[in-house]
Symmetry: C2
Subunit: 224 residues, 2 copies
């Protein structure tokens, strides 16, 4: 029996995978074929033990004294994320964010390829964004079927997000990467992943607030 199927990888580990992957690819490009958990931990500011635990989820075994084989780890992580064969996606909403995402080279590393762009603004339809032509929303279902796409990236205004989400689901989309700061109500079997910049900014804000408070506490205690 396959070891992988027996347990599911902790979410925090999944979330760290992309950072490992990037670093590992850097090492590979630099011609390194082995890397230790200690080394990875140093670069990512994690503890070696945690890196080892994460790596154990990939099924790759390390070698004492030298660590893990770089290429093997890359393959294993990509496989676990399903990034080993490219995933096609459509993008809805060719606005500021949408265009930036379409132009983002980095997606290639995640096996993500935006193969179609749709918008409902007549001025945008027919224009091309980084080589991809913006299509009318009327072509939605046809495009999804023709390209056999399962994933949609949503970058439309919040007011229409629910409506548009329902349209893409009706067209056959199974997973939505939602950049709109709004919770979508969709059938159970549709996978919705929200990316919320505010989440990250909230972390930054609270860390800054804490640091300011600590500083003023230290100052006060020095005065005593």
């Amino acid at each position: 029996m396959n070891k992988e199927a027996l347990f599911s990888i902790p979410l925090p580990t999944i979330r760290r995978f992309p950072a490992y992957l990037r670093l590992l690819k850097d090492f590979e490009n630099a011609g390194e074929s082995w890397v230790s958990a200690t080394r990875l931990a140093e670069d990512l500011r994690l503890k070696p033990i945690q890196v080892r635990k994460d790596m154990s989820c990939t099924g790759v075994e390390g070698k004492p004294k030298v660590g893990f084989e770089v290429h093997e780890l890359i393959m294993a992580i990509e496989h676990h994320l399903g990034w080993d064969n490219a995933t096609d996606a459509i993008l809805i909403g060719a606005g500021n964010l949408g265009n930036a995402l379409v132009g983002y080279k980095g997606f290639a590393n995640y096996g993500l390829r935006i193969v179609a762009i749709l918008d409902n603004d007549k001025k945008k339809i027919g224009t091309t964004v980084y080589g991809v032509t913006v299509q009318s929303m009327e072509h939605l279902e046809e495009t999804v079927v023709r390209l056999g796409v399962n994933i949609a990236v949503l970058t439309v205004p919040a007011e229409v997000a629910q409506e548009v989400a329902e349209m893409v689901v009706a067209a056959g989309i199974k997973g939505i990467w939602n950049f709109v700061p709004k919770n979508l109500t969709l059938p159970e079997d549709i996978i919705v992943q929200r990316t919320d910049l505010a989440t990250s900014f909230a972390e930054l804000s609270s860390r800054i607030k804490k640091s300011i408070e600590e500083k003023s506490r230290t100052k006060r205690s020095l005065q005593n």
Copy 2:
């Protein structure tokens, strides 16, 4: 003694705060003055108990049968995040992503205001992005000092990120919101918050992979 200072709010709670905030503001705009944890949980697909625990971190007390006062919660959450008085920031790198961020109206809700944009591309310097003029990097330190800014948003190419980060730190910046998929090595006291789209996409990918595997498992077991 202040209750808040005694314990630090769990990071997962901090991360949920922005979503609560948005929903609460929707309720406020709709003229609702009370909301129950049950209601919030329903809309955000959380469990009521978790919402109550999160709310308890804000210090706001609810009332049996009716819930929490909407406005009081908003104020409390904003206060805990430090979003109650606007934070100014500069943005470095007026490229695709940088411009999208500058134009993003949503930041106003987080108390974030981008008050200056800097770039090293002569073609971009002097142009305006959503009313803000792009300045040369030579003005970095002067701008930071003049505007009294503590936070920088980093949207430059990965190759120069470390170098640029060191420059903004030298100019007096204390916190960096880093959109570049690269770990920065900076002094201990500098707060660096990375926003990594790949993290979110990894989650989506792994959920899709799991769902596909489950489906094929079900199919197989039906065949038996």
